[in-house]
Amino acid sequence: MKANPYLREATQRATIRTIVNAIIVVFALAPILWGVLSSLKPTNQILEVPPRFIPREVTLEHYSRVIGDKGLFYLGNSALISAITIVVALTVGALAAYAMARYQFRGRKVLMVFTIGVMSIPIASLLIPTFTLLSVIGLMNTHAGLILLYTAYQLPIVIWMLYGYFLSLPVEIEHAARIDGYTALGTLRRVVLPLSKPALVAAALFVLVFAWNDFVVAVTMTSSESVRTFPVAVYFYLGFYGREWGPLLASSVISIIPIIAIFIVLQRYFISGLTGGGVKG
């Protein structure tokens, strides 16, 4: 039987496609997978040379060690701080974005420029004076301190994303609501926000990823255990008692799981939010 040339070309294309995709998957995920596999090995087998990819023996000892080191408490801290930051940043951000999308007022343009400017200020250059500021106003080592800082750092992105979305909503519905007697806030709450769910979810994801993953701000602005967030706890396995790869990798994996789970569920919002908030504004 003679092979169909079109069919052959199609098969070739499919093969190339598969190979390129496979390379991408390996590059993106191999370090993570290697970390996960290593975290499941007993300590002596972690450092085995040459390494085995599939653990000979699966153990959860490193995970129970992390949990035993108050890991759940630090996870709780991270969750609490992230959750409150999301609520605060979205509330404050929605108000500002609504004003910028629906009102002509003096200073509006300055505010837009300011928003993009702040979005691009490197946090690193703020660390030292922020340390002083928090000490002076008594927010050092507090949950509130971290929440306020995270809000300040993420607000511009939230405002920018919601602003773009609000602009795309038909203003007529809001006019109708106002005629029916709603106040500006009432219209925002009862009409605009329910219509903006996709943008709100995307913005919330942004804030979540930042607050959940931040390490630099948290390690600088907290020293007491009671406010320690999970990434800082991860970091400590790197330093104090020599390098403890087992707990280090196990805690890394623990920190990844929630964010990946949420990401998989809400992925389409995230990507559309990223693209919307990225190039369009």
Binding site: A96, T132, L133, A184, V216, Q267, I271
Partner: protein, 288 residues
């Protein structure tokens, strides 16, 4: 638009402005004041004018840090952008498989920078055995990647490329999607080759998104603290000690806060210039 209520918009933006002023602008001012003083252990010991700046600018360590930062950020920028662009083109068409692939690429971007760098530190460490496994067959037997200045820099670049290509991809994907499909179609009908279509249609229409992506990537790379802090610790020696890491150490380990803040202000000025370019691009894209 609701124009009749004069003060409503100010009330609406008030809280946001207050938070930004309090936690971004005030720290900037404090930092600037610090940079003009001799500061030890968070105590101001006297006004010193631009002395800190002078010390910073003449310090050989800072010269080294600038060279490290430029090497790292420029090499990473080029690689990240090219790979990100390639990924965007590769995964442009919307279908199920590409959706999954986009998610896969985004995973390193989703996880904490700390955790990502930590995982790579494990991969690159001599203890993991992986470097022996991969390098030994290539005849480089007993090499520890993070112990040699050149390979340590390469590892740092790898870290940036591994995580940030996803960012470049997503930004450029958004740009690609905004190109009207009928243009490509018309060129195809006219018999234009794929390369011709790329150079004559895709690139020109993508100009603004490309510049925005490059500038934002560059700002991120110049200012990253986590990669060098976690992956290489600035070492071996000071071969991967970037400006921002140097600044962090001047402030929190060496306790010369005046100098640290002088460096921070200098970094900030460089960033301002970059942001100015970015703002122009946003304006060009019609978003302000």
């Amino acid at each position: 638009m609701f124009t009749s209520e004069k003060y409503t918009p100010y009330r609406l933006v008030g809280l946001a402005v207050l938070i930004e002023l309090g936690f971004v602008i005030v720290p900037l001012i404090i930092g600037f004041w610090y940079s003009l003083n001799r500061v030890q252990f968070f105590q101001i010991r006297g006004f010193s004018g631009f002395d800190n700046y002078w010390r910073i600018l003449t310090s050989p360590m800072v010269g080294n840090a600038i060279a490290v930062t430029l090497t790292f950020s420029i090499v990473s920028l080029v690689l990240t952008f090219v790979i990100g662009f390639g990924l965007a083109m590769w995964l442009e068409r919307s279908n199920r498989l590409n959706g999954v692939m986009q998610a896969v690429v985004l995973i390193p971007y989703m996880i904490a920078m700390l955790v990502g760098s930590m995982l790579l530190k494990w991969v690159f460490s001599k203890e993991s055995g992986l470097s022996d496994l991969i390098l030994a067959p290539m005849g480089m037997g007993d090499v520890s990647i993070l112990a040699d200045p050149n390979t340590a820099m390469a590892a740092l670049v790898y870290n940036a490329v591994w995580r940030d290509s996803a960012f470049a991809m997503i930004m450029l994907l958004a740009g690609l999607k905004s190109i009207p499909g009928h243009l490509q179609m018309a060129a195809r009908v006219d018999g234009a080759s794929a390369w011709y279509r790329f150079v004559r249609i895709t690139l020109p229409l993508l100009q603004v998104p490309i510049f925005i992506t490059v500038i934002r990537l560059f700002i991120h790379l110049v200012n990253t603290l986590t990669y060098p802090l976690i992956l290489t610790g600035g070492g071996p020696g000071t071969s991967t000690e970037s400006v921002v890491l140097k600044m962090y150490r001047l402030g929190f380990s060496d306790n010369v806060l005046g100098q640290a803040n002088a460096l921070a202000i200098l970094v900030f000025i460089v960033n301002l210039a970059l942001v100015a370019v970015l703002l122009r691009l946003f304006k060009k894209a019609g978003n302000i």
